[in-house]
């Protein structure tokens, strides 16, 4: 079992998200994350989906997706170079002055952005890889127990420009 990523190009129509998520649930595949948005062609949406599965199930998932009429293209990101990032917001509540100093000190290391600020709360915005976000969440939870609110966006990905074209 390992985590795998796929990109999906689908028809941008009512019900397509339900069709795709329904396909996963009807076969008992668990979606880890799913993001969706339109592409340069407004009739096409692009999804980035991650699943934890073994090889055999993953092959089945790709085949099942491929044969759906609404799915235009399936890209398996397993063995190709890609760019992949996720957006996350943290809200840290009940901050005292010491906390704030700590948050600004960490900003230099992690290069996140403080985007909102009040007397006792701070909001941070960060675009990073999934695993780095996981790390920072752990750190914040230790530093500010029970005071961190998190909103994660799920990763979006795009295939890298191949070396030959550079």
């Amino acid at each position: 079992m390992e985590k795998r990523w796929i990109g999906l190009f689908v028809e941008n129509e009512i019900g397509v998200l339900a069709r795709i998520s329904g396909l996963f649930s009807s076969k008992s595949y668990n979606i880890e994350t799913l993001t969706v948005g339109t592409t340069e062609d407004p009739t096409i949406s692009r999804m980035t989906i991650s699943i934890i599965s073994d090889d055999k199930t993953f092959e089945q998932i790709k085949k099942q997706l491929n044969r759906s009429v609404e799915v235009i293209k399936v890209i398996d990101y397993t063995d190709i170079p890609i760019h992949k990032k996720e957006l996350v917001y943290f809200k840290i509540n009940s901050c005292n002055d010491k906390d704030k100093v700590e948050i600004f000190r960490l900003e230099e290391i992690y290069k996140y952005k403080v985007i909102d600020y009040s007397k006792n709360a701070i909001i941070i915005e960060w675009t990073e890889t999934e695993s780095k976000i996981d790390d920072l969440i752990k750190l914040f939870k230790t530093l500010f127990p029970n005071r961190v609110e998190i909103a994660r966006g799920g990763s979006v990905a795009m295939e890298a420009i191949s070396v030959a074209n550079k």
Binding site: I14, A18, G22, K63, N66, R67, V69
Partner: protein
């Protein structure tokens, strides 16, 4: 010219060469029915229930090879379709089902007879879509027919809101097809075929395992030719039965849970398993780890997702069965496997499936043998349960006969409406339905349809007073605890009763009287001597359906049987005597 959506709908059906439609009206489909009124080209059949409606379209499609077409209203019309949609889709039957829908401006308002039809259908059909704009209607219908019949055939549901039916728009109907997400395979990879033939050529104990795909592709003659060229014996699934004539010397039998000893043993011992058009369903494999354990498996299927889904395959070939078989024939050579053929033949002879030689017992085998003898050019439909398993065991099929059965979903209530659809599609063939007393009652109202459409079909009810297949499991694996399977049960029965006896209440309904009340002919047969006469009389009746109720013993089981979770080798051959 501007025409309404409903008018375009009728035009589209004609463009798609639809000659028959199974349709039940209602408030949100009334405009479509109005456009169909008094036109001559499309025969509109009115069944008595929407589930039966879609089974009839299914029977029509399976027996003719054409796309079956359904039309029902929104809400309950659509929800009643679901069982039939799943049944057809599971067995890869091409259907296009049109459902009326509340007007687009009411969708989501919990309007009268509104359900999210597409949401319900999505997971049980090949493709489902709501027409949201009048200008999309022609393209969507055109695509629907193409998607239903191409690739792995299946069911397409097209939901048409009432305002789209009324709206004026172009009368143009597209000629071309372009669906960017749907490009079914229409060729075969010769490299894979060559690889497969190399493996087959070296085989000492090869077997063809043929599923429903060959029947759906109407590749029966090609398959027979392939078997004859190579001399390789053929085993079928119940859906594949008839892929080559059942009296052919290379035909071994059905495999699986109620397969023949020869078939299951041949599969267990083969060294190359050349399978075409089957998904290796659990009903045929038994314990999956032991299935064809020593064989190299070649698998031809039009659906890439069927390959290596249940069983891992050495050489996959993604192609339509007919195209693949034609390509394989070109590379096929005679194999030197006389010894293997003789071995299988001896199994077949020594372990023939027999029910009872006792002349006093009316067995399904005897009844089906009579069907074999009396009907030469026929479509036979079954219901689900023991009646289906016996029919698939004993029915002989050649190129003039076809068997229609719900193999994948196993839907009770399928047999009678499917026979109606088959008779409408094949008026020159005899159509015989074999049902049980349980399943027939799930759609018995269709006798009215058969009478009204003047369809001389023959309905055989094998009445053992039980939901026999479940009863058999209860007998064999549940310590004879016959929970909710006795159909003679009355509230006043002794609660400790676990067996039919002389005090049993009479069966309800009286099928003979019921048939007569519908205007059909009804007969009851209790002895072997009466069987042939009854069928001959039924054959003579060419104006109304004939219902023949066969009273059979309640303890007859379908044998042999592979107990659940066991390997194909571990068959129980005979019923234990009490």
């Amino acid at each position: 010219m501007l025409i309404t959506g409903a008018e375009l709908f009728v035009k589209a059906l004609k463009e798609e060469k639809v000659d028959t439609m199974f349709a039940y009206p209602g408030g949100q489909a009334i405009d479509l029915f109005d456009a169909l009124y008094k036109q001559k080209e499309i025969n509109v059949i009115l069944p008595r229930h929407e589930q039966a409606l879609v089974h009839a379209a299914d029977g029509y499609a399976r027996s003719t090879g054409k796309v079956g077409v359904c039309l029902v209203t929104s809400g309950p019309g659509a929800t009643n379709l679901t069982t039939g949609v799943a049944t057809a889709n599971y067995d890869s039957v091409p259907l296009v089902c049109f459902t009326g829908q509340v007007p687009t401006y009411l969708i989501g308002n919990d309007a009268f007879q509104e359900v999210d039809t597409i949401g319900i259908m999505r997971s049980i059909c090949k493709y489902a879509v709501t027409v949201r704009k009048r200008e999309d209607l022609a393209r969507i219908i055109h695509n629907a027919f193409y998607i239903a019949k191409s690739g792995k055939p299946g069911v397409v549901v097209v939901d048409i809101p009432k305002d789209v039916q009324i709206a004026l728009g172009s009368d143009e109907y597209p000629k071309d097809i372009h669906i960017r997400g749907y490009n079914p395979n229409t060729s075969v990879h010769m490299g894979q075929v060559n690889k497969a033939m190399e493996v087959l050529g070296k085989a000492k104990k090869p077997i063809f395992l043929i599923g429903g795909g060959v029947n759906i592709a109407h590749a029966n003659q090609e398959m027979t030719k392939l078997a004859e060229i190579t001399g390789v014996p053929v085993v079928t699934t119940i859906m594949g039965k008839g892929a080559i004539p059942t009296n052919h010397e290379l035909y071994v039998g059905n495999l699986g849970i109620h397969g023949s000893y020869a078939s299951n043993t041949a599969i267990s011992n083969c060294d190359v398993l050349f399978s075409i058009g089957t998904r290796f369903n659990d009903r045929i494999t038994g314990k999956i780890e032991e299935f064809a354990k020593n064989a190299t498996i070649i698998h031809v299927d039009v659906d890439p997702a069927a390959i290596s889904k249940n069983i891992s395959v050495s050489i996959p070939i993604v192609a339509d069965a007919k195209i693949a078989i034609e390509a394989i024939i070109k590379k096929a050579k005679k194999l030197d496997i006389d010894e293997w053929r003789e071995e299988i033949k001896s199994w077949k002879k020594d372990y023939k499936i027999r029910m009872s030689d006792d002349n006093n017992i009316l067995t399904p085998e005897y009844i089906i043998d009579n069907i074999n003898k009396i009907y030469k050019n026929a479509v036979i439909t079954t219901d689900v349960g023991q009646n289906q398993l016996w029919t698939t065991q004993f029915l002989e099929i050649d190129n003039n006969k076809r068997l229609l059965t719900s193999g994948g979903l196993g839907t009770m209530g399928y047999g009678l409406p499917a026979a109606i659809g088959a008779k409408i599609g094949c008026p020159n063939k005899d159509v015989i339905n074999v049902s049980g007393d349980g399943g027939i009652q799930m759609n018995i109202q269709e006798l009215a349809t058969a009478v009204c459409q003047e369809l001389p079909i023959t309905v055989c009810i094998l009445n053992n007073g039980y939901l026999g297949n479940v009863r058999q499991w209860q007998e064999m694996f549940y310590d004879k605890r016959y929970s909710s399977t006795c159909l003679k049960y009355r509230k006043s029965c002794d609660e400790n009763c676990d067996k039919c006896n002389k005090n049993c209440p009479v069966y309800t309904p009286d099928f003979v009287k019921l048939a007569e009340s519908y205007g059909a002919k009804g007969m009851r047969v209790t002895k072997r001597e009466e069987v042939e006469k009854a069928f001959k009389e039924a054959k003579k009746n060419n104006t109304t359906p004939t219902v023949i109720e066969f009273i059979i013993d309640d303890t007859l089981n379908v044998m042999p049987m592979v107990p659940p979770g066991n390997t194909l080798k571990d068959m129980i051959m005979q019923k234990e005597e009490n």
